[in-house]
Amino acid sequence: MVGISKHFGPVCACGDVDLSVAAGEIHGLLGENGAGKSTLMKVLLGLVTPDSGQILLRGKPETISDPLTAAARGIAMVHQHFSLVGRLTVWENIALGDRGRVDREHIRTVVREVGERYGLAVDPDARVEDLSTGERQRVEIVKCLRRDPDVLVLDEPTSVLTLEESRDLFTVLRRVVADEGKAVILISHKLDEIIHATDKVTIMRQGRVVGRRITAETDERALAREMVGRELSKWTAATAVGVMDALIEPGQTEPASGPQLEVAEEPTTADEPSAQEVSTPEGSVAADPSGATPSAAAPTVTEATTGVLLRIKDAHAISPEKIPLLRGLTLELRAGEILGIAGVEGNGQSAVGDLFSSLLPLTSGTVEVDGKTIAAGRPGAMHAAGIGVIPEDRHASGCVLDMSVAENLVLADLGGISKRGLLSRSRLNERARALIEEFEIATPSPDTPMRLLSGGNQQKVVLARELSARPRVLVAAQPTRGLDIGAIEYMTLRLHEAAKSGIAVLLLSTELSEILTLSQRIAVIHRGTIVGEMDRADVDVERLGMMMGGQTA
């Protein structure tokens, strides 16, 4: 693939990306969420049409306009979310993309043959919905392999698998590559599986290729740094310009004497200044894991705060489909602090958000506010306990787009503006006007439909509504996603002010830069549990990256 570019509106998903994969190798494609890995692969599969660039197969330029063409050219993909129909049997699913008469016996034979050839045993007559996720993936792979593709793409294949199942998968992939000279592209953000399973790795960041490595010549540390490096440099740049200084220094940490990260007490961190991050040669001296070293800043943080306000103890929860969402998540949040939860998307952040929106009951464990246990999952319980939530998706659950700005502003607190069960129109308007002014919401009038506001102003409405309910804990999930710079800055400022006023702020974000900018303490979530915690001042981006990738370094 040469010079592939794809923009979604103003967002550059892929900018001038080159990727070359040779037959007989497993090629890792490493990057954070939104780094452009999936988009690049969708281009290869014909699901997305690139703005520019070319795909060369065995040196010949090819136009791939849809998945069927891709299949005909020998490119097959195992999707992250399986493309299987649960109610159908295995053989029916495998027959699904074919043409012509359905020949049950033939397909069953093929399933068994492919299964034997690669060690992917599945019962062709089983119903897919009765299979485990590992088995389902096997079906998906069999579905791809039976067409004898030359290039097999796997998108985050292990995100739903157990360790054992992952290991089996890689054995199979190895066989595919070694015995038949196929090429495998493995999309992943998990460092260990890139290290263990691939021959070469291409690292992407913000839509660009930032590194190409021979796996054997690199290590997890170097990869982690390359994967997340951008966040660091962006943050430092912001700090250097002074945009964020005022925000970061609300008397919590030591007086600013330059970019935060370089102030960390660990001496070895001095030799990884941010500017060098991007181009750090892989062989350079990696920083020590600095987690064990206590930082001078840490005690200050504790002093500035009072006791624990919010406590989640050993929370377990499952989805309606019985998939574990939280696995023993434990968390403490003090008044006046901002705790950032970093992690790769899909590791339980949504579940935490749902938990605080009273949408998710726990199978075990407790949530306490100020020592009092809250009934998780009972509608309104969390809100009543003083927890405000800025939901992850403001359109879906943050506001009602077809209601007016004023109505949206008072939704969380109808008691205050109603009398004997009837809404008081004048009080509503008064309240709305005050909030619009206080939060600088740019709207033509309080009666303007929410739909007509910009994303930033919509988010301000959500924020104003939640803060006006005087919460003790504010949970902000992806609060700046999709906003412009001005709005991001505003949100950042407001969240800091909220914390300063004594609200405990829990920030859930997959954007590391957001976490680094806002939080005083950072916890990393991985597979539904907190795998590590550190103070902002102690942050070692490399270690953070490794923790996010599932390494408890």
Partner: protein, 303 residues
Amino acid sequence: MIDEASVILASAVRLTVPLAFAACGEYIAERAGTINISVEAMMLGGAFSAVLGATITGSASTGLIFGMVAGLIIGFVHAQFSHRLGVNTYVVGLVLSALILGLTSFLLDSVKLDTNNQVNAVNIPYISDIPLLGPVLFSHRWPVYLLIVLIPFVWWLVQRSRFGLELRAAGENPQSADVTGIDVRKRRRQALLICGLLSGLGGAYLAVGEVGMFNQNMTAGRGFVVIAAVIFGGWTLRGTIAGCLVFGAADAMRLALPALGVQLNAQFLIAAPYLLALLAMMFLAKTHRAPGALGIPFVRGTA
């Protein structure tokens, strides 16, 4: 006694037939993911057109074809609205039902229709003479035998053909089906066309088969009974047909009981099929599962 039982049973079968034709269609539409509530419109339109066709051509059998075409047209309109323009299926169905009711009532007043033109009855020699069973099963108008052939064909079409496989995939998990290269909306439109064809035939049979004429609103909610039958049958063809038989029998009882001297509230018997469907949903909800994407419009690229 045997005679009476045989008369009631034969009438039950007769009343089941229009339901069963339409139910085969509805079954296909629902397996593809559409709860097609315009089936009432399809039956009513089919009934009217069949009598109209019979009046024009003088042949009741040709009338059946007219009925099928009418159902097909309604199915086409429904399909275009809900699976091309993306208008809510229920709204389209309701509007079509109201429209056809009004249209047929209006046309009934403006057109002079034949009142006694029925398709031929066929007594299958010898076996129709078997006591009890003979008159019940083998002494009917000819479309009944068509139904007997149709049911296994529908089963084969849905369960064994590639078309059926893609249809079920579209109804269960349209996103997956889409990724696999199936045109989900096209399959759903096609299912609605088949549904229109069969429901039109069901309505037509009611008019030119059983009654021999057209009355205002003569289907009287049978379309909804059909939908209930599919639910009752748990989205299996066997269950759907069984549901039609139950509802047909309830209908036959309603007509027969007064003649037998039993006093039972007729209104109750009219309501009985719906009550049965509700009860069935209550008890079978756990074991029977509707197609995963039933009633959910499909838009490419979501989820």
